[in-house]
Subunit: 427 residues, 2 copies
Amino acid sequence: MTGTSTALLTDHYELTMLAAALADGTAERQCVFETFARRLPAGRRYGVVGGTGRVVEAISRFTFGEAELAQLSGVVDQACLDWLADYRFTGDVDGYAEGELYFPGSPLFTVRGTFAEAVVLETLVLSILNHDSAIVSAGARMVSAANGRPIIEMGGRRTHEEAAVASARAAYLAGFATTSNLEAKRRYGIPTAGTCAHAFTLLHDSEHAAFTAQVEALGTDTTLLVDTYDITRGIETAIEVAGPGLGAIRIDSGDVGVLARQARQQLDSLGARNTRIVVSGDLDEYAIAALRAEPVDAYGVGTSLVTGSGSPTAGMVYKLVEVDGRPVAKRSSHKESKGGRKAALRRHKPTGTALEEVVHVVGAEVEEGPHDRRLQVPLLRGGQPAADGPSLEESRQRVRDGLVSLPWEGLKLSQGEPAIPTVYVEK
Amino acid sequence: MTGTSTALLTDHYELTMLAAALADGTAERQCVFETFARRLPAGRRYGVVGGTGRVVEAISRFTFGEAELAQLSGVVDQACLDWLADYRFTGDVDGYAEGELYFPGSPLFTVRGTFAEAVVLETLVLSILNHDSAIVSAGARMVSAANGRPIIEMGGRRTHEEAAVASARAAYLAGFATTSNLEAKRRYGIPTAGTCAHAFTLLHDSEHAAFTAQVEALGTDTTLLVDTYDITRGIETAIEVAGPGLGAIRIDSGDVGVLARQARQQLDSLGARNTRIVVSGDLDEYAIAALRAEPVDAYGVGTSLVTGSGSPTAGMVYKLVEVDGRPVAKRSSHKESKGGRKAALRRHKPTGTALEEVVHVVGAEVEEGPHDRRLQVPLLRGGQPAADGPSLEESRQRVRDGLVSLPWEGLKLSQGEPAIPTVYVEK
């Protein structure tokens, strides 16, 4: 996607607001827009920020060439088109590093610049953060439920083809071991893995012939799919063909817990003690947790990951909170926001366990203890990425560290309150 | 996106299956893969096929250049890389036209070709059809609930930035009037619309100043957002600034039904009898239906549309059903498929009301009445799009026609069984 303009991945009204503000002279007012979630998805105890790296990159491609401007003639006036022709974001962004945990009100991505340059980024920023954060947040719950066992992401077929690539990235960030998505390998260097589909067995004259073909092409350290016909017979054939050194078998249907137990016994009795058992088939974090006591070595997860396991969007908003240094906020019923640019720190016990998320207006007096941690980092300065952003591996480590810092109730899968409260300090 | 290869928007295992099949000579067997949904999303009474046009286009870009092949070295062997370098899909595809209703088991997209050329398309076909069908299916329920009132799609910010473009297209297909997404205008010619955000009012020194700026830039036939501070005062100011010829007001928060009634009275009393009322704010098909008796002129819908209103994926699968003319099917517990290439027709009463979906193995004797309709059309022939596909407008009309043909219970929003049963005929 490098090189392609992202400028039209936005909403009509941002451009008409821009045109009106350019015409009346308010476009150059210095503004602060804050990105945050009013609440976590129903019952969730934490969120994980995903997509920050993608947003920073996408902003660098937010430019209007002739092709983009041609689309906007008729939407905005010539003065606005001229202004857009020179557009590059030149402001500053501070926010939570990718992989950081977040809670209601956490100021995740704070954009400072003129109204004109900041308002047009709203949709792009929200699209990426809302999608990727929804996926990584769901993924982190699955990784947590898997308790150290590896998970393969294989959900690409159940979401938009480009969302699939971003989902593979988000899953890896969450701690998934590998993805099936080849474009995610190309774009982000994420390790790919794959087993086999039922089609491959059905293509052949027998399961024996299919397994033989796969082992010959891919070696014995492959994963044979054993549930096309009869699982017991399938395992027998698998070991017959590959020998007891077979890498793994996969079970994709049925009551996978019971089947895994039977498979383990059978494999052991055939001498294939190191042959791993991979299970898949509509697994989500609850199903993964329920399999904890079963002899499962790895999980394949698809649909539930790419659909955010019931919460496909993080519901973040991008709100104007300051104009020329003056706090502003919507005041009518519902959907109120708190005015003024905010910063945030997370308080911890001396043991490192998180206690509360303190969100405060910049300038308010907030005591900072030795175990507290400032949460915002510079993401863009003068429109340019602030130094090198963290690598995907670093962000992945940040997710792990964040989860370890939660009070133990915070990792429960059941519905509940946020793991730590958000405390607002306005003065 | 034209010109970019789609070949890596696929899963690792498709390529390894291919490599193994090329090595053992089964790759050239003639195969039929069928795309269908085992069931509709929970409680849904119909599905609408979306994405067919996008799939046909994406298949034409499914080619492996040097950049793609470089990513696959290490995944598959040299013989497979050589084969991929020459890859172009040369098979035939029959399927439901975009916008057609579907039911459990409907053969939506049937791919015929060698195993090798057909297996590698699995993920791409499913990604697009699963996403777009989920969105258009949800959108059709909203259009149906809106009962003729226009709906503006404005959900781009709540989904992946590219899924946003596809969602705008799917919403238009479902019968939405316009979208906020500018890239959807560029790519598919969908009309865009927009109102204004709270940020624009907050930017200004007063609501009066903001409304004045907007009306001066966009004319009186614009939509003023009146709920930033106090709605009654906002409407007063709106008419003061724009006069009684104001195009519309938008209410984005609070109990929009009650507020719309009050707003209508106030607007009428101010002589603004033709000023329309647009409501938005977490609307879904149920909220839209509940507003049917209120004086609302248009709806703005975002999150619920782009997330498929609770069903973000259509759950379709791509299954091998025939090899060299011989029907094949998975036979172990659960997730069974029915072997053999299928065709489908929909039976209707003489009045045009749909009665049942008949899915039959090709060659089976099926009586065809004067009111029945064959559902599959040629989509690709020899790898090339079969004539010109339908325009988006034609597919949009097909959705309308389909909904009219349903028995009236089929349009109920409550959970229920599919509107018509699927009848399988195997012999």
